[in-house]
């Protein structure tokens, strides 16, 4: 009844995607890309036991079991900044708007704050900028040489209901324009209908289309009705080769919630236990305060450990979060409460 029994042993098992050679430093090798697994219906069936009430109790108490104060809090907020996918996903986005966002990503903190925190030459800035396909080229140009990734939402975001060929073409187009991370959405109906094999096949095709670009799979958890569905959808996505699983588009009526996040993290842990493969996690939608970011960091730290606090395994999809973090960092330095208009907008 466990992942272990249904899955090949770590390392030597079947994989469905060809893998590039890993190219990390010895000290902290980046998470290897996920080769995926053959579809395993038995594992999904065994993973359906998720007790919402127990998960809610866990997340309700977590923020009370762990606390980060003062210097530690400042450090943790910098961490939140470093794992951020600074995002704009509005119908009225323009290249100008995206250029402004990229400028903020390059210089996320006011110089006096950088100096006050003693950051010196260390560069701490968002991991990626996340945009719709038409702005990928703009972002890639703006961020060239910075190390900041360009992520494109794709596959008929946010609903995922375009023809498969159209969706695959969209992925390829974004990769061609310079996106090295692709945030795809799943058609939620496949989950609600229990068509897990079809879901797996689509995601595997997305992964194929991504090529070298990393694949983040948005589950649209607000539409999935149960934590059992969330868990199984996350597992199916990982089997199909997702590098990240992501909660929400930000367009559902319910965004990233901690119980949903916990269910996904436990699926990630089960996948790691079974395969040795680390999969990333991206909560997105509604994470707009420093306090909320700390709660998510604590959840990650407790459920998956320190390793999952790096940008190769954790991202926050956020837009206004950065300003709040900046305000809190200023408060840490001055003891005064800051105002949003004192920080450069994105």
């Amino acid at each position: 009844m466990t992942g272990k029994q249904h899955s090949p042993a770590a390392g030597g098992g079947a994989s469905v995607h060809p893998l590039p050679k890993a190219s990390g430093t010895a000290a902290e090798p980046p998470a290897a890309r996920n080769p995926g697994l053959p579809f395993d219906a038995g594992w999904l069936e065994a993973a359906r036991h998720v007790n919402r009430s127990a998960l809610e109790r866990r997340v309700d108490t977590l923020g009370k079991r762990r606390s980060v104060k003062n210097e530690h809090q400042a450090a943790w907020l910098l961490r939140a900044l470093a794992v951020m996918d600074l995002t704009t996903l509005s119908s009225d986005d323009t290249p100008g708007r995206v250029r402004r966002l990229c400028a903020k990503a390059r210089n996320p903190l006011r110089a006096d704050i950088v100096e006050g925190l003693g950051l010196g030459d260390a560069v701490i800035r968002p991991a990626a900028v996340c945009v719709y396909h038409p702005f990928v080229a703009t972002a890639a140009a703006e961020l060239a040489g910075t190390g900041i990734h360009v992520a494109a939402v794709s596959t008929a975001f946010p609903h995922g209901l375009a023809p498969l060929a159209t969706r695959l073409a969209e992925i390829r187009a974004s990769v061609a324009d310079g996106a090295d991370e692709i945030d795809v959405v799943i058609p939620r109906g496949l989950v609600l209908e229990g068509r897990w094999q079809a879901l797996y096949d689509e995601i595997a095709a997305f992964r194929e289309a991504c090529g070298a670009a990393h694949l983040k799979v948005i589950l649209g958890t607000g539409d999935l009705a149960t934590l059992s569905n969330v868990t199984r959808a996350a597992l199916a996505a990982m089997m199909a080769g997702a590098d990240f699983v992501k909660t929400s588009t930000g367009k559902e009526s319910v965004n990233a919630t901690l119980p949903v996040g916990l269910a996904m993290l436990r699926a990630i842990r089960a996948y790691h236990e079974a395969t040795g493969q680390r999969i990333g996690f991206k909560p997105a939608g509604g994470i707009s305060t420093a306090r909320a970011a700390l709660d998510w960091l604590i959840l990650m730290r407790e459920e998956l450990g320190r390793r999952w606090l790096e940008p190769d395994l954790l991202r926050f999809g956020a837009s206004s979060l950065l300003t709040d973090i900046e305000r809190q960092l200023e408060h840490h330095l001055t003891g005064r409460y800051s105002a949003a208009h004192r920080h450069a907008m994105a």
Binding site: M1, N51, R65, S67, V68, K69, L78, L119
Partner: protein
């Protein structure tokens, strides 16, 4: 350390709760005068004090005034003096005062929490988020009961002056569990906190004084075992309520035997934590954290025995070990501490000794490589595997952060292992299949069952144990009942056994009859095959009754234990009892004649007794499917099912007077609630009972539901009291026998009700079918959190 280094490390760092307010509070008290008696602060008469230390550092914290027997006597006198006005106060007045206490505690919540953590060593997260809010909830909930009592419990009043003794593991919460229902009921109290943890009770008493609690209604005496003994022994105390170890509970049971004091005991446990293969395993792991690593495992209902289905055992235990590695031991006042120190050095030594002994007996003890503070009484969380059921760590309550794990194959085996213990306080069941969970819960011998949860508490939901985990409940209606007594029953005359004259002459039956014992559905001869000649009222030989002995009782208890009766449906029990009544009614003339001849009662009186017995059985038939449980809705997304379950095997010792009605009035309600019965009928008039088994035989009662052993009632009562497979015992007999029964019951802490050496009026409210039905059940609270 620079911010960048912290950014790399991503450690939590210290997050200390300030202790400044608590230290200022301590500094501002005259701790030599910390007995709260009759509304005033005073020193002990002997001027004695005892030292309190801080478990996290081992440093001395305070020197507290100690109460001796004289101080206890003063406190009891104050409570007795305050009782008439307090019990006469309107429910609304008592409600306002309880409400004021609750609100005042809420206003001082942080001070309570910090004091508790300093004094006890429990993590501030627990005292702040669990202990104090639950204590507040208890007062506010019981404020409502104070006002509602007259309507909810007509004909009942407060039991009187209550002596309460509480443990050190939840000092404030246990105080609230004891004092709130007592005050709501109209009782006055003398409470003794544990000597390790006296502080929050002092703050509580200060709040009482400000909240308008009249002088003498709440008295707090501090001290250890000697102080507690003085309270238990004091004749001015009407009831003792105790929470603590089973060992001390037994001592109190013995000490109060024959005193007429009411008693409720909430004792130890070795609670099973059962994980099925269809459980949410990750949530079950978190459940264990909240089960056995809550309050350092110093919890009477801690899930200390992990029973996991074989096919998921390896996975679960691997996850448990991984989770244990993330537990943080440290300063109780640090908000990031999961596990604080044990309360005292002797407790730490005890836990270490038990773990060492368990290892010596073959257990594998695993501890995570986590940091252990240098000072203080810390014990690493410990997982014990490879344990046989006989291992000390599977048997004994450790009262520390030690989890013993074993596996099972089937549901049936899980239940058997779960129930393989002398205790019966709580149990956790983890399964995502509602049918399975609700199938298992009623089979567990435990007062509280949590499904997919653990250590959930609420003031509206009763808490308390089966078996040697004690008796009585705290919280809910059933908890309030423990502080009530029937209002003003007339003082009854002393029980007098009826003299047994020598029998003379020949029996006058046309054909010789041999009355036998009735065991396991069969008429059997007594083990020793001796008989006693039974005389009728005029001294003529009426028959020869078997002299049952301890072996007959043994056989009867074994037959009762095997009986299918407890699993009969309520409707089935109801029909059988009606049928029993019907069959007795058919033979009413015969029974009336038998009673008249044996007892010398007039024909009309004898007939009235038979009619009353028939009517009582009829009433029991009607109660069988109407004394139903309740559904509680605690303040979380859960329902709590308060199920009424039979006590189990119940012994009955019936009086000589009204030999038929006295027997039936106890037998009927016990059967109605699903108990299997071993009855010892009147030894003066045993032939009434031996006639009755013929009626029973024709009434569709399954074998073993009723067993009748005739014989010397006083001796057989003692045998029943000493039998550890008897769960309950009701005894109407002389004072000496009643006392002996209570004394001997301490062996397995069976539920005992006696007539206190007095006669019983079977038509009074406290002896009617409903009153005995209430004694014939245990309330089990099954918590079912839900959500999709």
């Amino acid at each position: 350390m620079t911010i960048l280094e912290r950014y790399a490390a991503m450690d939590y760092g210290p997050a200390p709760e300030s202790r400044a307010e608590a230290d200022a509070w301590l500094a501002g008290r005259d701790l030599a005068r910390t007995l709260f008696v009759d509304g005033a602060w005073r020193a002990g008469r002997a001027g004695r004090r005892f030292a309190v230390e801080e478990p996290a550092s081992g440093r001395p914290l305070a020197e507290i005034a100690e109460a001796d027997a004289d101080d206890v006597a003063d406190a009891v006198a104050a409570a007795r003096k305050a009782l008439p006005r307090w019990r006469a106060a309107s429910g609304y007045r008592r409600a306002r005062i309880l409400y004021a206490i609750g609100r005042a505690m809420q206003r001082h919540a942080r001070l309570f929490a910090v004091l508790e953590s300093i004094d006890n060593g429990k993590p501030i997260r627990e005292s702040r988020d669990i202990d104090v809010p639950l204590a507040v909830r208890h007062f506010i909930h019981h404020a409502g009961w104070a006002q509602e009592m007259a309507r909810a419990f007509p004909g009942h009043g407060p039991v009187g002056v209550v002596g309460q003794i509480i443990p050190w593991n939840f000092p404030l919460l246990m105080l609230a569990w004891k004092i709130a229902p007592a005050l709501a009921a109209g009782c006055t109290v003398v409470l003794k906190p544990a000597e390790y943890t006296p502080l929050t009770a002092i703050l509580f008493a200060e709040i009482c004084a400000r909240a308008g609690v009249p002088k003498g209604v709440v008295n707090i005496v501090q001290g250890g075992a000697e102080t507690g003994s003085a309270m238990v022994a004091h004749p001015g105390v009407d009831k003792i309520a105790f929470t603590g170890s089973s060992e001390v509970g037994r001592m109190i049971r013995r000490a109060t035997a024959g005193s007429g004091k009411a008693l409720s005991l909430e004792l130890g446990g070795k609670s099973p934590f059962v994980v099925f293969d269809d459980a949410d395993l990750d949530s079950a792991v978190e459940g264990l954290v909240d089960g056995i690593w809550f309050n350092q495992g110093q919890v009477c209902c801690a899930g200390s025995r992990l029973l996991v289905q074989e096919n998921v055992a390896e996975t679960l235990l691997a996850r448990v070990r991984a989770r244990m590695g993330r537990l943080r031991l440290g300063d109780p006042l640090d908000k990031n501490t999961d596990i604080g120190p044990l309360v005292a050095a002797v407790q730490l030594a005890r836990v270490r000794d038990l773990v060492a002994e368990g290892a010596r007996q073959g257990a594998e003890c695993w501890q995570p490589a986590v940091d252990l503070p240098a000072a203080g009484h810390y014990h690493l969380p410990t997982l014990v595997t490879g344990v046989a059921p006989a291992n000390v760590l599977m048997q004994e309550e450790v009262f520390g952060p030690v989890l013993a794990a074993t596996t099972f194959r089937t549901t049936e085996e899980a239940v058997a292992l779960a129930n393989n213990t002398r205790y019966g306080l709580a149990a956790s069941v983890w399964s995502e299949t509602v049918g399975r969970a609700l199938h298992v819960a009623p089979q567990l011998k435990a007062g509280v069952v949590w499904i997919n949860g653990t250590n959930l508490f609420d003031a509206a939901c009763g808490f308390g144990g089966y078996r040697e985990s004690g008796f009585g409940r705290e919280g809910g209606r059933e908890g309030l009942r423990e502080y009530l007594a029937p209002a003003g029953p007339a003082r009854r005359r002393a029980y007098a056994p009826i003299a047994m004259p020598e029998a003379t002459g020949e029996p006058d039956a046309a054909i010789d009859r041999t009355p036998k014992l009735f065991v396991g559905g069969r008429q059997v001869r007594p083990d020793a095959t001796y008989v006693r000649a039974v005389a009728d009222a005029r001294g003529r030989l009426a028959g020869e009754a078997g002299i049952g002995n301890r072996k007959d009782i043994r056989n009867a208890v074994a037959a009762a234990r095997k009986s299918a009766w407890p699993s009969a449906t309520a409707y089935n029990r109801s029909q059988v009892l009606y049928y029993f009544a019907e069959n007795l009614a058919v033979r009413a003339d015969e029974f009336a004649a038998r009673i008249a001849r044996l007892t010398g009662a007039g024909a009309r009186a004898a007939r009235a007794e038979v009619d009353a017995a028939v009517e009582r059985l009829f009433a029991c038939g009607s109660l069988a499917d109407k004394v139903e449980g309740r559904v509680h809705q605690p303040p979380m997304r859960a329902v709590t099912l308060a199920l009424n379950e039979p006590v189990g095997v119940v012994g009955l010792v019936a009086p000589d007077a009204a030999p038929l009605l006295g027997l039936v009035a106890m037998l009927g309600p016990a059967l109605a609630m699903g108990n299997a019965v071993v009855a010892v009928p009147s030894w003066r008039y045993p032939l009434v009972a031996t006639d009755l088994y013929q009626v029973i035989e024709t009434s569709d009662l399954p074998a073993g539901a009723v067993n009748i052993v005739t014989g010397p009632a006083d001796a057989l009562a003692r045998v029943l009291a000493r039998h550890d497979d008897v769960d309950g015992l009701w005894c109407v007999a002389d004072a000496k026998t009643c006392r002996a029964v209570e004394l001997e019951s301490a062996g397995n802490l069976k539920r005992v009700w006696t007539g206190n050496g007095r006669a019983v009026d079977w038509h009074a409210e406290d002896a009617d079918a409903a009153a005995f039905a209430a004694r014939a059940i245990e309330v089990k609270n099954v918590w079912v959190p839900y959500g999709d």
